[in-house]
Amino acid sequence: MLKPDLLIVGAGPAGMSAAIVAARAGLKVVVVDEQPTPGGQIWRGVEANAGTSRGRALGAQYCSGLATVRAFRECGAVYWPSTRVWQIEPTLGTYVTGPGGTRVITPRLVLIATGAQERPAPLRGWTLAGVMTVGAAQILLKNPGSVPSEAVWIAGCGPLALLYAHQLVRMGGAVAGFLDTRPSTPLRESLRLAGRAVLRSSGELAKGASWYAELRHRAGRYVPGVVDLQALGTDRLEGVRYRTAAGRVEEIRTSLLLIHEGVLPELHTVRSLGCEIQWDAGQAAYRPVLNEWGECSHPDILIAGDAAGIGGAEAAVHRGRLSALRILQRLGKVAAEPGMTEENCRTALARALALRPFLDRVFRPRGEIFAPDDDTIVCRCEELRVRDLRAALAGSVGPNQLKAFTRAGMGPCQGRQCGLTVAALIAAAEGRQMSDVQPFRVRPPLKPVRLCDLAGLADEGLSS
């Protein structure tokens, strides 16, 4: 299977849904995913957890992923778990390393379904041991099912932070306090954005409202409108300082702080291929420029799921199917399932996305995130602070030169953690819009690769 019709990167809702449609229609499909089991972030570990008390605690939406995972397992696509894609050449030569070693795949088409990443939100002290993201904490809940023994402090904004708090409580954990960094939004304006979706999505809205109510009720403390968040400590986290909406500075003691400021499309792969991206002001994120099928500026690459723009799991399923339908069309095949039509998928996608403008508005991150104070570390790998970057900005043009001057973005995270902040600093320093500033050029490999794994590709010279 080194020359499949379709290579899908990512086995989350979008990747699996696309694979099911494409493989059932007779295409040779390879799906490569970094996790040991299918499901992506949202349905991580669902095969093991569904039907258990942990699954029930994680909720019905989580358990609903089991059907898709099962259909994916049986659809005929070749599935390579625990495998990293670390380079895709413009001619689609794709380098992967997994349990089977390092291989080069040359598919006819590629579907990128790499999902989302948490928005890097630098604050003072965020590199201290004891500060972790809500996303990372949620992985722990789903995998070994470890519930933090102490009550946790959560600081942030976004549905995932609320969902995590909800799930944690259901699993017997406790929220010591929730520092809500969500800026207040006029409810009427936000609801207008939801429009008629409010009627259709009343269940979803009610669920969100109940999470909030639960949080206010169950959390030790709930503090709205928090700004100037700062993690305190020398070697590891000792406490958190913040300012309340009323302007009062408060300090709490804790050894664990979970932070979260929303999610972004994971664009590293997409950008490495030179695919066009644009700034989406509504989502305060870059997203790829796509047509209604998920086709991008590279003729043989499609993008689906949250990597195409944050839409959530339900939208990811339908975007994955739509991209698969387009791929079938391009390769002269038709979908095997009778109901799998473009029209049905578009209707379902529209429904899944109806509430999105409302959510984007309500959970729009505070401006502080894009303009941290001078003392805040931006590039974690090279430990560069805002002031280091501002100083270098005086004499350089653009992010790539800034990188050369300061080494920001040269470390193992390859700019994933600092790229957006650097772009924002440049935009602010030069009075430009985010849409005019491009993040760092992506250098390969997309993910770090061991020297021996690269060496294994050489015809000669192996020492072992």
Partner: protein, 371 residues
């Protein structure tokens, strides 16, 4: 300097262009430097930054030794040591046949009167490189060689040149060079400049600048690749290369391992685009792992492809144009120009101002490449 007028225009904002500009402004000339993208965008920003006199073509040895002295007093020249660390450079022999090749080379260089290269036995090799593989039998070392930090070097040369008054114009392409009364008209996409002299420091595009003045030459390009790993604890002092494999291996001052060796990636000179070829780069990884088996699990975090001019004899083009008076060349360093930077700028400045250099640059005459 009046807008649109300068004594000398330098085409190309790589290190050689900057060094030329610096030497000229230090000698009191008005200099404008045009760079199509940004300073250090190409080979200068992509180099593994070896400061190497070891294993040079005999024609280059004298220049490289003179340049090396300048690396030792770089701070005085440009206000920064450019991260230069003199850990030595070693060419490693992996077999007795290779050791004999090193001995023959060493004898030849000594016959020419140079004593900077020294044969070392396995014991000395292991003293200098405790982690080197058992099978390596010795090497040839230039103990005063080393490596520098390319980005610091670029910043220092740029800062020094601007400090002395050089005008650096980034984002400007030179479209044509036209003879003008007593000099040249430099036609750019942002207006024309009248100058007396033109320096062609255009790297991979040096051949195109030659064509602008009617000097067609045999010329190609190199697209050499480099990869860098995460930081490692181990200390590798010298820079390593081998007799039989494409490899250059060193530890940067940040602790990362930098591996190159002239393995070629893909490039499109017209579009100015490059691409890493990991199948080819795998040979470099294999070579590094063979020499230092302990690093096999180190993570590679970045790889890139530079773009650099290449001549048929792999020697640079340094000196006056053969056909166009007032035009001077410094390009085509074929992947080993970094070490020569602090000297060649002075040579060109002397050629421009005094009509000659007191260094022998006959082997680098553009006339040898004319078609």
């Amino acid at each position: 300097m009046k807008a649109g007028q300068a004594t000398t225009a330098v085409i190309g904002g790589g290190l050689h262009g900057l060094a030329c500009a610096l030497a000229l402004v230090q000698r009191g000339q008005d200099v404008v430097l045009f760079e199509r993208s940004w300073i250090g965008r190409r080979a200068s920003g992509a180099t593994a930054a070896g400061v190497r006199t070891l294993w040079r073509d005999p024609a280059e040895i004298a220049l490289s030794l003179e340049a090396l002295e300048r690396w030792y007093r770089m701070d005085a020249l440009v206000g920064d040591d450019c991260g230069f660390r003199a850990g030595g450079q070693i060419k490693v022999a992996e077999s007795h046949a290779e050791m004999e090749a090193l001995a023959a080379r060493s004898a030849r260089t000594r016959d020419l009167g140079f004593h900077h290269e020294e044969l070392i036995d396995p014991r000395e090799l292991r003293r200098l490189a405790p982690m080197i593989s058992e099978h390596c039998v010795g090497g040839l070392i230039a103990r005063r060689d080393g490596a520098a930090d390319p980005h610091r070097t670029i910043a220092a040369f740029r800062g020094a040149a601007e400090g002395y008054g050089a005008v650096i114009r980034e984002g400007i392409s030179v479209m044509a060079l036209e003879p003008d009364a007593g000099g040249w008209r430099v036609v750019t996409d942002a207006g024309n400049w009248s100058v007396r002299h033109v320096v062609n420091a255009a790297g991979a595009w040096g051949g195109q600048v030659c064509r602008m003045v009617g000097e067609a030459i045999r010329f190609g390009y190199k697209a050499s690749m480099v990869f860098v790993t995460e930081r490692v604890q181990q200390a590798f002092g010298p820079v390593f290369s081998t007799v039989g494999r494409p490899l250059s291996f060193k530890q940067s001052s940040q602790g990362t391992l930098v591996v190159g060796g002239g393995i070629q990636g893909w490039a499109d000179l017209e579009k100015g685009s490059t691409q890493v070829d990991f199948r080819a780069l795998a040979r470099g990884a294999a070579a590094a792992q063979t020499l230092f088996p302990a690093i096999r699990n180190v993570q590679i975090v970045r790889a890139w492809t530079g773009l650099e001019g290449k001549t048929p004899d792999l020697l640079p083009v340094i000196g006056p144009s053969a056909r166009a008076p007032g035009v001077f060349h410094t390009f085509g360093f074929s992947g080993h120009g970094f070490e020569l930077v602090p000297l060649v700028g002075e040579i060109i400045a002397d050629c421009i101002m005094h009509g000659r250099s007191h260094y022998d640059i006959g082997a680098f005459d553009v006339a040898r490449l004319l078609v």
